[in-house]
């Protein structure tokens, strides 16, 4: 499916993901490990193993230097 993923503060990606792809797969497709970002659908984080079900999401980087 086609998804637009905005990495907050960085680039916006237009992705074509395989059927059944999860939000963890989406993280990898924009270059991040699912352990260092969270995907927001609207304002709400979604579980990493949930199949992608939104056409537009934001990817928020959570892990940077302290």
């Amino acid at each position: 499916m086609d998804v637009v993923a905005e990495v907050v503060g960085e680039d916006t990606h237009s992705l074509s993901l395989a059927d059944g792809a999860t939000y963890a797969d989406l993280c990898r497709a924009v270059g991040y490990s699912p352990h260092e970002v969270t995907v927001l659908v609207g304002e709400t984080p979604v579980p990493e193993d949930r199949p992608v079900d939104a056409e537009r999401v934001r990817v928020l980087r959570l892990i940077k230097g302290g």
């Binding site: 490990s33 352990h35 984080p45 193993d49 892990i63 230097g65």
Partner: protein, 321 residues
């Protein structure tokens, strides 16, 4: 997907345990692990009383980890007369970056009513990190200077404020990285020191009289969960990369661990579980080898194995440029 505990929409999947959690139950789970670690490490000794309370100095950078730690400890112990808490922030002289995180620290401590103290490299050492990275007399990464200075000031001021323990916000990812680095560097002596300095339960450590004992109550919680915790609680945490961040080797280990964790969920937990056991054995083996050689730095009085401590030698080198 629903929360395993209550059936509401899950916001997080912990691949290492298989759990799906909603906002409220992720928060509760993080808090539970911190409280369990405080208990299991024996942070609050049985002889602490309201007349003779235990004093904890918390290293508060204003980043997500130390903010979450301070908030959870305040929730748990603010009303407990056996515990006194002081938050200690260090200003390294990094324009913009540290000013913003200090604002977060001030906002948090005001809101909680926790005593907050700030010391700076400029006042204490006569140096600022923005200048140090420019001159770089030892041809080192910025973090190599900054780590020495920060540890020295945390230690000095924890002692100054009468700390029984110095608590820092290291999370599971930080600790697994350090463990793996020590193993890959073959540094068994460092692993032994790690156990006695901050890793082992207090009743199993060989504590040095020369240092304030340290502990890391957040070290069972993965970094992502700490960040989500701050977001869900609306805590004023400052999440920005230090402009001088340059710990190349740690960055390489971080990426390796993230990859391993994806392919083999639970890797960080199993590294720490094995490393702690290994560190306890190493500490037992190395005890007595070096303790006797510690003395006071002849310039600043900090505890050191040499005549002049590493911090004073670095400051001298910076001043000579």
């Amino acid at each position: 997907m629903s929360c395993d505990k209550c059936g509401r929409d899950a916001v997080y999947h912990a691949a290492y345990s298989g759990a799906h959690l909603c906002e409220d139950h992720l928060r509760a789970s993080v808090e539970k692990r911190v409280r369990r670690r405080v208990r299991e490490d024996g942070l609050l000794p049985d002889d602490a009383t309201s007349d003779d309370p235990e004093r904890w100095v918390i290293g508060l950078s204003g980043g997500k980890d130390s903010v979450a730690l301070t908030a959870i400890l305040d929730d748990t112990f603010a009303e407990d007369p056996r515990v006194e808490m002081v938050a200690l922030s260090i200003h390294e002289g990094i324009e913009g970056y540290r000013d913003e995180s200090l604002s977060a620290s001030e906002e948090l401590t005001e809101e909680l009513g926790v005593r907050h103290e700030t010391v700076s490299y400029a006042d204490e050492l006569g140096v600022e990190m923005d200048d140090v990275v420019e001159s770089d007399p030892e041809n080192m990464a910025a973090c190599a200077y900054c780590g020495v200075f920060r540890r020295d000031l945390l230690e000095t001021y924890a002692d100054e404020f009468g700390a029984d323990k110095l608590l820092t916000g290291h999370n599971l990812d930080d600790e697994a990285q350090t463990a793996l680095m020590n193993v890959l560097e073959g540094d068994v002596a460092q692993t032994a020191k790690h156990f006695d300095a901050s890793l082992g339960p207090f009743d199993e450590r060989n504590e040095s009289e020369s240092f304030v004992p340290r502990a890391k109550p957040l070290r069972d919680v993965p970094e992502k969960e700490v960040a989500l915790y701050c977001r869900f609680r609306g805590l004023p945490a400052h999440i920005t990369e230090c402009p001088h961040a340059s710990e190349a080797y740690r960055g390489e280990i971080q990426q390796l661990l993230l990859k391993l964790e994806e392919n083999h969920p639970g890797t960080r937990h199993s590294i720490m579980s094995g490393y702690e056991e290994f560190a306890a054995i190493a500490a037992d083996r190395y005890r007595g080898d070096e303790r006797a050689e510690l003395s006071e730095c002849e310039r600043c009085g900090s505890t050191t194995a040499r005549d002049v401590c590493r911090k004073c030698r670095l400051v001298e080198s910076i001043e000579a440029v």
